[in-house]
């Protein structure tokens, strides 16, 4: 076993990674493009629907619950395939890139909704009532009281969801979106250098994910609420 591991290390061809650096860079850009768009839009969906859920706005609340439960209880891979192969039947033809960002937004939005709902509901009602007593309209009270406090409570869990959104871009391989995993997989099948291609891929993902995790810890320290509510 020792022989073998020495053999793998000794035969590690750095040139496989170096020669394909252009391909990896393109894949990285595609991952970031879909990932960043999904990341931002998932926050928007989560903020709006989280507020709807926390305030129990009739009709919209039921729609949001249905959406959240449907998405959280089905695999994202099936959702991607459904958007890509199932929707054209209804006359909705989506481009690969559209399916790419849309699918991870839909998935991330459902989890973000739950993150923000929990955050908003953790804000004591008396704070909002104090806002009303000062003459705030319900919208103003939400923007000035519930959002700043509840948003801070929800922040760490939303970043965890955002990390998952970025990791889920790897699944876009199956619809042929040329992101990092797609690139590494095709390099691997062209050169048979599995170890080199996937080591480089793993380093890329771990860099992104660990950087975002560090951001959570930083924000948790910076934005911690000064005292117990």
């Amino acid at each position: 076993m020792f022989d073998r591991s020495v053999h793998i290390l000794a035969s590690f061809e750095w040139s496989v990674i170096w020669d394909n650096r252009g391909l990896f860079w393109d894949g990285f850009k595609h991952t970031i493009k879909a990932g960043a768009l999904g990341f931002v839009l998932a926050y928007v969906v989560g903020l709006v629907l989280g507020a709807v859920r926390a305030h129990r706005i009739p009709v919209l609340n039921q729609v949001a619950v249905t959406y959240v439960e449907l998405i959280r209880n089905t695999p994202i891979l099936v959702q991607i395939i459904f958007l890509y192969y199932g929707l054209p039947v209804l006359g909705v033809h989506l481009e690969t890139f559209t399916v790419a960002w849309l699918s991870i937004t839909i998935w991330g939005g459902a989890f973000m909704t739950e993150n923000f709902r929990a955050g908003f509901e953790a804000v004591p009602p008396r704070l909002r009532e104090a806002g009303y007593a000062l003459g705030f309209t319900p919208l103003k009270a939400f923007l000035n009281v519930t959002l700043p406090i509840g948003g801070r409570i929800a922040l760490p869990s939303t970043i965890n969801t955002a990390i998952s959104v970025v990791k889920n871009t790897s699944l876009l391989l199956i619809i042929g979106y040329p992101e990092l995993t797609y690139v590494a997989n095709s390099i691997q099948s062209n050169t048979f250098r599995v170890f080199e291609a996937f080591s480089a891929l793993a380093v890329c993902y771990l860099t992104i994910v660990w950087a975002l995790s560090a951001l959570i810890r930083f924000l948790e320290a910076r934005l911690a609420l000064p005292e117990a509510l």
Binding site: M1, R4, E69, L70, R72, N73, T74, P75, I76, L77, V78, Q79, I81, F82, Y85, G86, L87, P88, V89, L90, K167, N168, S170, L171, L173, I174, T181, A184, N185, Q188, V194, F195, F198, L201, A202, Y205, L206, V209, W210, S213
Partner: protein, 232 residues
Amino acid sequence: MPLVPDWFRPVAEYMLREGLPETLRIAAIALVASVAIGLTLGTLMTIRFFPLRWLIRFYVEVWRGLPILVTVLFIYWLPAYDIGSFHLQLNAYQSAALGLSLWGSAQVAEATRGAVQSIPKEQHEAAAALGFGWIGRHRFVILPQATRRLLPPMVGLLVNIIQNTTIAFVIGVNEFLQAGTRQFENVTSGLTGQVAPSYAPFMIFGFVMLGFFVICFPLTRLAAYLEKRLVV
């Protein structure tokens, strides 16, 4: 019009007969392996011996940080490996189960560490006073109490594992989604002799979603219920 169209009946039967058991089997293997490895590593992580702690921390961060698809593809494509006379080559099914177990064990380890550390140190001291060693103390006193806190996330993990078995689809395991895709290719190519309507993919992949929903929804509710009942 019948409730289930003629062309769809054999499709659904194939998916439920061939695909679903495969999905559940992979999920069961991954769950058992994740819980066994994760409980052990998570408990060991509470020992104040930094090389061991860092080693387990590295294991957890790597397998949690990588997308499961990347882990599974990596394992699947690795060339055959000879240890002495033992020839190691994992097929698609084993690669998927191993990849899911690595990810799942990292999740369980992290949850276990938190749960074990949340047990007051008086419990450790009382167990030690009764003459328990480190293993006995954790096996009979600490872990049974930590289980209470661990149960809701474990049910959540099961839901995640079941959903993530679909990753095995990518490397060709005939699980629920793959079975659906194969049937989709069959009916649209006319191989089955039945003429499938144009809405066939919508219905087949909708059925895949429905199948997962029926399994996962009760488990999600159970996790939420346990969270309310058991924690505090």
